[in-house]
């Protein structure tokens, strides 16, 4: 018997105490394997005004491309120093950041691999459900042929690219999220 799903509701403007804790946007520890990266971005609304009460969550594979989850039983190493989940609130400018590692590639279907990517979910006052998207790395050669990115209309693929900021070591990638209008981020709906 199918159970009726529970509908979503907005996170509202007062989620900070309930959902955000110090350090949740830092996914790395000293012993974490992989290339350190910093992600930075802004969340904007349809007027390009900053969304100061948004929450951005990320979920990613470790440096070897393995997810810490019972479903991922592939013979790829788990990193004891990495869980793969992060959460950040935006500040008054709509700004958020994460410190993490660049994930390894994970499979798509039929033996095809996906380019390194980070799964992103956005919640905010005024969003009656989360919005789900993905972040890809503009300087990774695999990005151009990623099987999921190719499902996105070509003109919109650029909205999923995190752009390496010149001269940054470790690399800083810029990834803005536009909820509506010009440059609107491509968001996904999960369907078979």
């Amino acid at each position: 018997m199918r159970r009726g799903l529970t509908p979503s509701q907005t996170v509202g403007p007062f989620f900070h105490g309930g959902l955000l804790r110090e350090g949740m946007n830092v996914l790395v520890r000293q012993d974490t394997e992989g290339q350190r990266i910093r992600l930075e971005g802004y969340v904007y609304d349809g007027d390009r005004a900053p969304v100061a009460d948004a929450m951005v969550e990320i979920w990613q594979a470790n440096a070897f491309g393995r997810y810490r989850h019972p479903l991922d039983q592939r013979p790829v190493p788990l990193d004891p120093g990495f869980v793969g989940f992060g959460r950040a609130g935006t500040d008054d400018a709509g700004f958020f950041w994460f410190e993490t590692i660049k994930p390894g590639p994970v499979p798509f279907r039929g033996g095809v691999m996906q380019a390194p990517h980070i799964n992103v979910a956005v919640s905010a006052r005024g969003l009656l459900d989360c919005l789900w998207t993905r972040l890809y790395f503009d300087d990774d050669p695999a990005t151009a042929t990623d099987p999921v990115l190719r499902l996105v209309p070509e003109a919109r693929r650029g909205t999923l690219l995190a752009r390496r900021q010149p001269g940054t070591v470790p690399p800083v990638y810029r990834f803005d999220i536009v909820l509506q209008g010009d440059g609107e981020t491509a968001f996904f709906v999960f369907e078979f």
Partner: protein, 240 residues
């Protein structure tokens, strides 16, 4: 074959719902891009996220003052289930709410109602093997907001659940039975009529504890894989 149920427009509110003004500039205008779930969507963060303290699920006590929050003490419990009715164990349930006077401990809340020095307004717990969560808290108050003239949010508790997969991530609100403010609340009414009652807890006399607190039951059903999704990924093993 692996699948998840599609986002059901008879259950989920639309992103654009004019009566809730904040949606007007924040809802996407472009169509959402259909994505067949991959390992990235069918995995998700699990219970290792939670370093829980014993008091985390008792909002009447978890301010840490040694004193008790003011208000009508209530017990809120329920099961977290998948669409097949199976309990989901080890799910982190995070809640936050206004105090009994209808005020949040948050710098953006300027409602001229008192803050309670013994009430933080947030808590969390993990579901047990039977999918059950349980919180001790106080009944939140209604509060005004500026969405429209004479706008009041009905008393509610915010719930956040990550669930078994990235696709099951859910943020919702629990309301109280018989609340006359529900019919005026555009956030509640953004949910299609047939699904609204799923957001209303039921008074549960078997949860109520004598001489202590009234009990409410609120079950939550999360999206998840409808079919055990192992096959497609085993095929890719040799290439990873």
């Amino acid at each position: 074959m692996t699948t998840v149920a599609p986002r059901d427009p008879d259950v989920f509110p639309p992103y654009y719902y004019e009566a809730y003004r904040a949606t007007i500039k924040r809802s996407p205008r472009q169509p959402l891009v259909p994505l067949p779930p991959t390992l990235s969507e069918l995995t998700g963060p699990g219970p290792e996220l939670a370093a829980l303290h014993a008091d985390d699920a008792d909002l009447t006590r978890n301010m840490g003052t040694g004193q008790e929050a003011i208000g009508e003490r209530i017990l809120v419990t329920g099961r977290v289930l998948d669409e097949r009715g199976a309990p989901i164990a080890g799910t982190l349930v995070e809640v936050w709410q206004a105090n009994a006077a209808g005020r949040y401990r948050h710098r953006a809340d300027q409602h001229h109602a008192p803050l309670d020095p013994n009430f933080l307004g947030w808590g969390r717990c993990l579901t047990g093997a039977d999918g059950v969560y349980r919180f001790v808290t106080v009944r939140p108050g209604a509060y005004p907001w500026q969405n429209h003239p004479n706008a009041w949010r009905p008393p509610h508790i915010h719930f956040s659940l990550l669930g078994p997969t990235w696709t099951s991530r859910l943020i919702t609100q629990m309301f109280f039975p018989g609340d006359p403010l529900l019919e005026y609340d555009p956030i509640f009414n953004a949910v299609p009529p047939g699904a609204r009652e799923r957001l209303i807890a039921r008074y549960a006399h078997d949860v109520t504890e004598p001489e202590y607190a009234l009990g409410y039951r609120f079950d939550i059903v999360l999206r998840g894989p409808l079919v055990t999704p192992f096959e497609p990924f085993e095929a890719a093993e040799g290439r990873s």
